[in-house]
């Protein structure tokens, strides 16, 4: 499939190009950015990130697990300490809190790995070291008949370079 790699200098131009590509139905695209720019992320996919679901599930798992762990263990080996109940909730809130944070943090990390497709692997074929310098990249896969249109669109958005890397 023909693949065009375009290089941009500014995030606003890149975001505008991506928006126009998507409006014209060119959804099979990948952007590369040297730093986070919300306008670019939103142009590519306006939906909010699902990382928040991972964080929420992790946090809830942590708090439930933290309290259950302590209450169950206190009843498993009941010892009266300082005149308090076997399972005394106020002091247990500390370990409950810590496990909320711990599992919330771990799940967030796993969310990042899953949603970002992060695992030890080589980079994409069309990735360029310039995209970790200060340039932005947009890789579009399109039909052969659309190549000229995509190329023209990229240039109209001030692309520094447009290359057809796969014909």
């Amino acid at each position: 499939m023909p693949t065009l790699v375009s290089v941009f200098e500014l995030p606003s131009n890149t975001a505008s190009a991506v928006r126009k590509l998507r409006e014209r139905g060119f959804d099979d695209l990948t952007t590369y950015s040297p730093a986070p720019f919300p306008e670019l992320e939103e142009a590519e996919d306006p939906k909010p990130s699902k990382v928040r679901i991972f964080t929420l599930v992790g946090g809830l798992t942590g708090v439930v697990l933290g309290f259950l762990l302590q209450i169950w263990m206190s009843w498993e080996w009941p010892i009266k300490i300082a005149g308090k109940g076997y399972a005394s909730i106020p002091p247990y809130s500390i370990v409950g809190f810590e496990l909320t944070i711990l599992l919330g943090g771990f799940f967030t990390f796993f969310g990042l790995l899953i949603l970002g497709g992060l695992y030890p692997r080589p980079v994409d074929k069309h990735y360029d070291a310039r995209f970790s310098a200060e340039d932005f990249g947009v890789v579009v896969r399109c039909d052969e008949r659309d190549v000229a249109e995509v190329e023209q669109l990229m240039r109209s958005e001030s692309a520094k370079e447009v290359s057809l890397v796969e014909a």
Partner: protein, 456 residues
């Protein structure tokens, strides 16, 4: 309408991707990982020798027993607990800068957060050594873990010491996760420019990072959520550490002010250590463009604020000791200032409260040699603060007949010195392997400036 030209014809008319000049931020900030002056190797050599000595001392104490430490009735929390609290405190500035200042959108943190996060991770790793040493029988460590055993006996969740196990473990884990997530895009930059073994190492650690839209979106949200989680965590960790003391009935310890007092002290000491680390790093590796007077001024203001909170806490402690009219409490505080440990108390007050007041002078807030020296004094003062809290209180409890003196043994002092070497060793290795400033965060500003014509 004529048919579109074939793709190959279009290809001929398009320019191929050509190599371009690298980003200045990449060149400047990655430079320290490439060439290193002889002073670096000398410092690393000294640190490694110190670490060898540290583990030699630990092996000696493990073999002979805790008797080699200076513990004697009634002081059984000595230098190891002091140093443990000290290092945990040092670790607080990193998370404060990364998480709390991130939530407040304080842009000045961008240049200092990486160094501070690294400092947090290594300080907590250093702190984690000390409860093990304090246990004496290191091999009984697993007693602290809630694991199913044949006796069906579980740990006591009502004990602040166990809360501490959870708090420190969580803090260490979250700090490492935070540090690593922030590093991933920068490791990818290093990967794209490395060769040989380094390239393989960076390729593994970069996890295929390319800065695609989904990656940045997940990354930004992860940092935001982790900041939200780490903010209460950083405030809770030293609070829990303070409850190790405040939950007991020892004079000088049983006070409700302990949690905020410890947290403020931790941030204070942590920022001082950030200064002690950043000032030489900036000078040696020529990072003056990225670490400017503006950053040091902001850190100085934090130091001034937290120093004042510490000063208030010291005064409040003395006031309450007098106002309560509880004799053991007031005696304990009188002896802090005028008893056998007067030196440590006056060091604490002078270094933590009086000296930092010089930062009211604007010129001094950006005077780096002054800030470096002040940082050293503050670190000494903060170590003495924990010495005062622990030793003076334990050595002068309720029964005068049970009073005693604690003098650290040479083994303890060697382990204290070794802890600084252990911390320095990790930090020096970090300097060699990873960028010392968060490149992508700097680049975000640079590109923003390029787009908006120097609006920042």
């Amino acid at each position: 309408m004529p048919p579109p030209p074939p793709a190959t014809a279009v290809a001929e008319s398009l320019r191929p991707l050509t190599p371009a000049r690298d980003s200045q931020a990449n060149i400047d900030i990655m430079a320290p990982t490439k060439g290193f002056p002889w002073q670096y190797w000398l410092a690393l050599g000294v640190a490694v020798l110190g670490v060898i000595n540290l583990f030699g001392m630990i092996a000696y104490q493990t073999y002979v027993g805790l008797g080699v430490a200076g513990y004697q009735t009634p002081v059984f929390w000595g230098l190891y607990i002091i140093t443990f609290v000290f290092w945990i405190g040092i670790g607080h500035a990193g998370t404060l800068i990364s998480a709390i200042l991130f939530l407040f959108r304080a842009k000045w943190r961008n240049a200092v957060n990486r160094c501070a996060e690294a400092l947090t991770v290594f300080a907590v790793i250093t702190a984690a050594l000390f409860p093990l040493l304090h246990l004496g029988r290191i091999w009984k460590l697993y007693f602290l873990m809630p694991y199913p055993n044949q006796r069906g006996l579980w740990v006591n969740f009502k004990s602040p010491l166990l809360w501490d196990v959870f708090a420190i473990s969580t803090y260490m884990s979250i700090s490492i996760v935070f540090f690593y997530i922030g590093l991933i895009p920068d490791i990818a930059i290093a990967r794209d420019r490395a060769t040989g073994v380094k390239k393989i190492l960076y390729t593994i650690l970069a996890l295929g990072w390319q800065g695609t839209g989904p990656q940045w979106k997940a990354h930004s949200r992860s940092i935001l959520h982790l900041s939200g989680l780490a903010t209460p965590l950083v405030l809770s960790v030293h609070s829990v550490v303070s409850w190790d003391f405040a939950m007991s009935l020892v004079p000088g310890w049983h006070a409700t002010i302990f949690a905020p007092y410890f947290v403020a002290g931790a941030v204070f000491g942590g920022f001082a250590m950030v200064l002690n680390v950043l000032i030489p790093v900036r000078r040696i590796f020529g990072l003056e463009r990225y670490l400017t007077a503006y950053h040091f001024e902001n850190m100085s203001r934090f130091i001034l604020l937290t120093s004042t909170i510490c000063g208030y806490a010291y005064m409040a402690e003395y006031f309450i000791a007098w106002y309560s009219q509880v004799e053991p409490e007031s005696t304990s505080f009188w002896l802090r200032a005028f008893g056998p440990y007067w030196f440590s108390t006056w060091c604490m007050i002078t270094f933590n409260v009086i000296f930092p007041q010089l930062l009211w002078i604007k010129r001094l807030r950006t005077n780096l040699p002054f800030l470096f020296i002040l940082g050293v004094f503050i670190n000494i003062g903060m170590w003495f603060e924990r010495y005062v809290i622990i030793i003076t209180s334990l050595s002068r409890e309720y029964i005068t007949g049970a009073w005693g003196l604690y003098i650290p043994s040479p083994v303890e002092l060697a382990i204290l010195a070794g802890s600084f070497c252990w911390f320095s060793m990790w930090f020096l290795i970090f300097l060699k392997v990873f960028p010392v400033i968060a490149i992508t965060e700097v680049k975000e500003l640079v590109i923003h400036e390029k787009e908006h014509g120097g609006a920042h």
